[in-house]
């Protein structure tokens, strides 16, 4: 049994990917849509894993970066008439650029100060989208842009392939010297900079990478829904992405992917709750934080399972501290 668990843990990422590849064949059309959203969220959440999990910089403005990616893609296609691939590339580039700019306040601010700044950034982007109606469609939303690939299914496969490559890259970054520098920001910034870690550069890299993935996720979101509205990018949405990172164990790539997909599909499984999706999310998060951190002093899915008496945690990276 123990051997089986070890084997599962080692190949967790591969197993998840194979399951995702099989998903279109075994799910109904609606379930498939939910899985698609899950994969799209996972790309965004891997970016947050770098920013929040590795580097310890809490952001509640991530939905705004997602919006930047999605809207840039939509606007470039609808209003400018660009090719979808060019539009996607430019959207990711612009989001990365703006997201890197968010690192500037992070040079001087930490903790709650930084979080409030990101909340402010999120609100600014939302208000701009809502009010720049000629460009963004305002409250009516934006529609009528083409997909990257003609069939939904192929877009999905593209997304899974992207997720797989990103997952490996994020994992490698986590284990590299860059990852160590990012983690040192979280633990002791002063010690890090005195040891020769270029703190500003590390922060910029962290923000840039997470913004890039948010932008990419935004492009895929536009591809999936075909319609964009400011309501999908509120602070509450940012909070639910935060939930996905935390529930994934804050350090684990596979954990983040699994938690993104599970949490995205949770309201579909718990249909009877309909309007209170976020109520359930937040309650789960509260209970998780309280039980997991206070009892075991550390956080991961595995830790929680241990406290609840289960022997196995799938989403646990080997460098989990």
């Amino acid at each position: 049994m123990v051997k089986l668990f070890k084997w599962l843990k080692k190949y967790a990422l591969l197993i998840v990917m194979l399951l995702l590849l099989a998903a279109p064949s075994v799910t109904s059309q609606y379930e498939f849509y939910v899985v698609q959203r899950g994969v799209q969220n996972a790309i965004h959440v891997l970016g947050l894993l770098i920013l929040i999990g590795y580097s310890g910089m809490l952001s509640l403005g991530s939905a705004a970066l997602l919006a930047t990616g999605a809207y840039t893609y939509g606007i470039l296609l609808v209003k400018v008439g660009l090719n979808p691939w060019v539009g996607a590339a430019l959207a990711v580039a612009l989001t990365t650029f703006i997201g890197t700019g968010l690192a500037l306040p992070a040079f001087r601010l930490a903790g709650p100060f930084l979080v409030v700044t990101t909340v402010g950034f999120g609100e600014i982007v939302r208000i701009l989208i809502l009010n720049m109606e000629p460009i963004t469609g305002g409250a009516y939303g934006l529609a009528g842009f083409a997909k990257l690939l003609p069939s939904t299914r192929w877009v999905y496969y593209l997304m899974v392939a992207a997720l797989f490559l990103i997952a490996i890259a994020v994992k490698r970054i986590g284990e590299s010297r860059l990852g160590l520098a990012l983690k040192s920001l979280r633990e002791d910034e002063v010690a890090a900079e005195v040891m020769g870690v270029d703190v500003r550069r590390a922060k910029m890299v962290s923000f840039a990478l997470s913004a890039m993935l948010a932008g990419l996720s935004g492009v895929f979101l536009a591809n999936l829904t075909g319609y964009l509205s400011p309501d999908s990018f509120t602070a509450a949405e940012s909070a639910s992405y935060l939930l996905m990172v935390v529930m994934g164990g804050m350090q684990s790539v596979t954990g983040a992917i699994v938690s993104s997909i599970v949490i995205t599909s949770l309201p579909e499984v718990l249909r009877f709750l309909s309007s209170s999706r976020l109520l359930v999310y937040s309650l789960v998060l509260l209970v998780y934080l309280r039980l997991n951190w206070v009892r075991t002093g550390k956080g991961s899915l595995a830790g929680l399972m241990k406290t609840l008496g289960f022997p196995l945690g799938t989403g646990r990276a080997k460098d989990r501290s």
Binding site: R108, A110, V116, I124, L278, L289, V294, G297
Partner: protein, 295 residues
């Protein structure tokens, strides 16, 4: 004429600003006592507003008893929140980032709880201060503007006396400054921090009750106010009593003037812009708070 309009705008802004000041003060008090930044402060305010709606608007109790009951109920909720949730985390020295996430989760939870119980439609109840406009010289004022300013002024003086002049207040400040030493002096830290939560939640509830004549109640109302309150507390200086007060008033007046003279659409962007400038160039706020500790 213009001077009168300006004064009127400033007074309206003052009333709104004072509404921001109370949750801002709550954030500051909790920060001082426990080093915890409570993102749920605005949603506790919302909850207070809705409890008042049920007691006064729906159940038809008289205004003052409903007010007192609302504040008491919210105070108890604050106390329980600390004892059951936040103090154990503080005691176990959980990473501050995790506790911060916990307060965000509470914010989302309370907002959606309100949504599930009371629904999304904006609700309001009879304005207890009357809706006939008062004319003082060239000034036209709603009576609730004067009442809000008066009630909060009394509340703040009482609070200041409580914190500075009583044993409990002194003990609370002692815990905030030297938790270990005060524990050794026989002060129960958990109770003092819970008491701070109680106080903060109760004054947030006062805001929630007073806000009703100005804007209708919605579940997401607290989120918007919280963002302004956070801006207020950072502009004023985190951890400072006068900073929270002044920051709130400054934000209230500035946004009212900006909305009147420049643009009401981009009012919130203006406030965030000012906040970011403050954070970058005077991160300690008006009353310098220490933002980062070094070696």
């Amino acid at each position: 004429m213009t001077a009168a309009i300006l004064l009127q705008l400033v007074l309206n802004g003052l009333a709104m600003g004072i509404i921001y000041s109370l949750p801002a003060l709550g954030i500051s008090l909790i920060w001082n006592a426990s080093g915890l930044f409570n993102f749920a402060q605005g949603d506790l305010l919302t909850l207070g507003g809705y409890v008042m709606l049920s007691l006064f608007g729906k159940a038809g109790l008289p205004y003052i008893p409903s007010f007192i009951m609302t504040v008491a109920v919210m105070g108890i909720i604050g106390y329980a929140l600390s004892q059951a949730y936040f103090y154990p985390m503080l005691e176990h020295r959980v990473n501050p980032q995790i506790i911060l996430i916990g307060t965000v989760a509470f914010s989302v939870f309370i907002r959606n709880l309100v949504l599930v119980i009371w629904g999304t439609t904006p609700q309001t109840y009879k304005n207890p201060f009357g809706s006939s406009v008062l004319q003082i010289g060239e000034l036209y004022l709603m009576p609730h503007v004067i009442w809000i300013v008066a009630i909060v002024a009394v509340l703040l003086i009482t609070l200041q006396y409580f914190l500075r002049g009583t044993m409990v207040g002194t003990a609370m400040r002692a815990v905030a400054q030297r938790p270990t030493a005060s524990y050794l002096m026989g002060i129960r830290n958990d109770r003092m921090i819970a008491l701070t939560f109680m106080l903060s939640t109760a004054i947030a509830a006062v805001s929630g009750v007073l806000i009703s004549p100005i804007i209708p109640l919605t579940p997401s109302m607290g989120g918007i106010i919280a963002v302004k309150a956070m801006a207020a507390v950072l502009i004023g200086g985190l951890g400072s009593f006068s900073g929270a007060l002044l920051g709130g008033v400054a934000v209230g007046i500035a946004e009212t003037l900006f909305a009147a003279f420049v643009s009401s659409t981009y009012r919130d962007i203006f406030i965030f812009g000012v906040l970011v400038l403050f954070l970058l160039f005077r991160p300690g706020g008006i009353f310098r708070a220490s933002v980062s500790e070094k070696v």
